[in-house]
Amino acid sequence: MSATLDALPATPVAEPAGLLPRGWRRVLRRPASVLGGAVVLAFVAMALAAPWIARVDPAATDWSQIRKAPSMAHPFGTDDLGRDNFARVVWGSRVSMQAGVFSIVLAISVGVPLGLVAGYYRGALDQVIMRLTDAWLAFPFLILAIGLVTIMGPSLTNATVAIGLGATPTYIRLTRALVLATAAEDYVQSARALGAGDGRLMARHILPNIFSSLLVQATVSIPIAIIAEAVLSFLGLGVQPPTPSWGTMLNAAQQFLDSAPWMAWWPGLAIFALTLSFNLAGDGLRDLLDPKDY
């Protein structure tokens, strides 16, 4: 026994890298994804700590400070009502995060059970759910959201619900396809042969195995949802003034492009940075969770 160990002296060389699980090493090989993840976490921290980062009230107007260029007192300048743009960008991250995350949570909590049931039971129920999904998907995302906000009235909550409902069919389809593939696997069949009921099969054997694919899809849809919220707010169908949101800030900025261009820079740059980071981090997560793809 000890003789064989002695015969393999070269193995410890690989040890330092071996301290990390294989998946993590794979991620660290993609510095862009790590950076993306770090920026996303920084935005989360910014949203949570908004009151401490931005000392100024984002809704406080100051008539002596209207459309002032960036300065020491106002690093991002001020807007048309003399409000501090830095504070508004920081507070706006709350709205974006809320809308981005909660809408996708809604889409998952509606879409996954429906897709699970459709893919597991098949038959007439599957047909009904899938035809409804087809019809739901025929409405372009934004137009569906606009239609729903028209019915429900513009507000952050309603915009979040509308975006969530718009994203739901993607999750129904994805879950159904994953369930169809997973339910045919041997381990599911053997669990069934051991007498596991439908509920147990779905909850204990199928769902945990499709979870990582759903998580990867979430990293794709959250940035889309964040942009969608900004678009709805930009159109005036989302967050209502005076609550700061990147979309409403850009809406206001549009009227002052020649006199106060900085009003348009920062909120847009914030959306861009956040969605780009989400996409980069999502790519890394895909590598980590989906070995087939690699």
Binding site: R131, L132, D134, A135, W136, A138, F139, P140, F141, L142, I143, I146, G147, L148, V149, T150, I151, P223, I227, A230, V231, F234, L235, G236, L237, L250, A253, Q254, L257, D258, P261, A264, P267, G268, I271, F272, T275, L276, F278, N279, L280
Partner: protein
């Protein structure tokens, strides 16, 4: 083949029926008297009565739906509350503008995506590939309305090369028309270009690994001839499908783009009708958008099955 077509058309019809039910119920979910909703707040009692009679608002809901659907099939989607014009006429006036915008956007997207995608695939894992993929990632991540605002800031405000917004019909002045369309078309095409470039790169890489490409090389064809004559053509088939699937995104994008550049098209009509609470117009526009999306995808599927015989046998998912 016939069976595939029949199945595909049947599914599309079912989808269209479900869409019409959703749209019908949607407008009914707006709180308040449906006649008041459809006629607008300033309608008099006679106007309300006329609406009630036309749509039979005292009948059971399924009967009301059938009557509405029958009218819709005859091209009667009601009248706009604000202008009193028939919804269909209003849409017919606005739609060509958006179609021009969308066509220009697709042209711009293809002109960027195909060369970039092919280059990235042929020069895989080089600086070109990284550059193209990075640009594509940025294209997907950049909010198009912000891109539009930044372009206005640069080309209209700073450099003064292009007018910031507005619209001139092409028959009045083709040059003025293009001057005002190029920025919105680029903004609308940017995200599409990003998606198409990724698709072109992936499918080109797949094709380059295929046996017939190796055969073409081994029979002595020059690299350029293999790529242009064999690889690109075959790798573009999946790109066509993606283009069809992106039709919906293009419509959503048009809403935002037309809003920023003040293009009086279909997308702007949607936003305007929402703000004026012009429910018949919203209803008609949403119905037309969703139906055309279904029809576009039906056409894409059918043309795809003609291009690639393997699809027909597999049937629809």
């Amino acid at each position: 083949m016939v069976e595939f077509l029949v199945r595909r058309v049947a599914i599309s019809i079912v989808t269209l029926i479900v869409i019409s039910v959703i749209v019908f119920i949607g407008v009914r979910m707006i709180p308040g008297d449906p006649a008041r909703v459809m006629a607008g707040t300033d309608a008099d009692a006679a106007g309300l009565e006329e609406i009630r009679a036309k749509y039979g608002l005292n009948d059971p809901i399924p009967v009301q739906y059938l009557r509405w659907a029958a009218l819709a099939l005859h091209g009667d989607l009601g009248r706009s509350i604000r202008t009193r014009d028939p919804v269909v006429t209003t849409v017919a006036k606005k739609l060509p503008i958006t179609i021009e915008l969308a066509c220009l956007a697709v042209l711009i997207a293809l002109a960027i995506a195909i060369p970039a995608g092919v280059l990235a695939a042929v020069r895989r894992n080089t600086a070109w590939d990284v550059l193209a993929s990075g640009a594509s990632l940025c294209g997907v991540s950049v909010p198009n309305f912000w891109l539009g605002i930044m372009l206005i800031l640069l080309f209209a405000v700073r450099l003064g090369w292009l007018p910031a917004s507005g619209f001139v019909p092409w028959w009045e002045s083709p040059i003025a028309n293009l001057q005002r369309m190029v920025m919105p078309a680029f903004v609308l095409g940017a995200a599409l270009a990003a998606v198409l470039m990724r698709q072109t790169r992936n499918s080109m890489i797949n094709v380059l690994g295929a046996d017939y490409i190796r055969t073409a090389y081994s029979k002595g064809l020059a690299g350029r001839a293999v790529i242009f004559r064999h690889a690109i053509r075959n790798s573009l088939i999946p790109v066509v499908t993606i283009l069809g699937l992106q039709a919906g995104a293009l419509m959503s994008g048009a809403v935002v783009t037309e809003q920023i550049f003040v293009v009086p098209g279909f997308g702007r009509l949607i936003v305007e009708s929402v703000f004026t609470r012009d429910y018949p117009l919203v209803q008609g526009v949403v119905l037309i958008t969703a139906s055309s999306y279904v029809l576009i995808n039906l056409l894409v599927d059918v043309s795809y099955s003609l291009l690639d015989p393997r699809i027909r046998i597999g049937g629809t998912p």
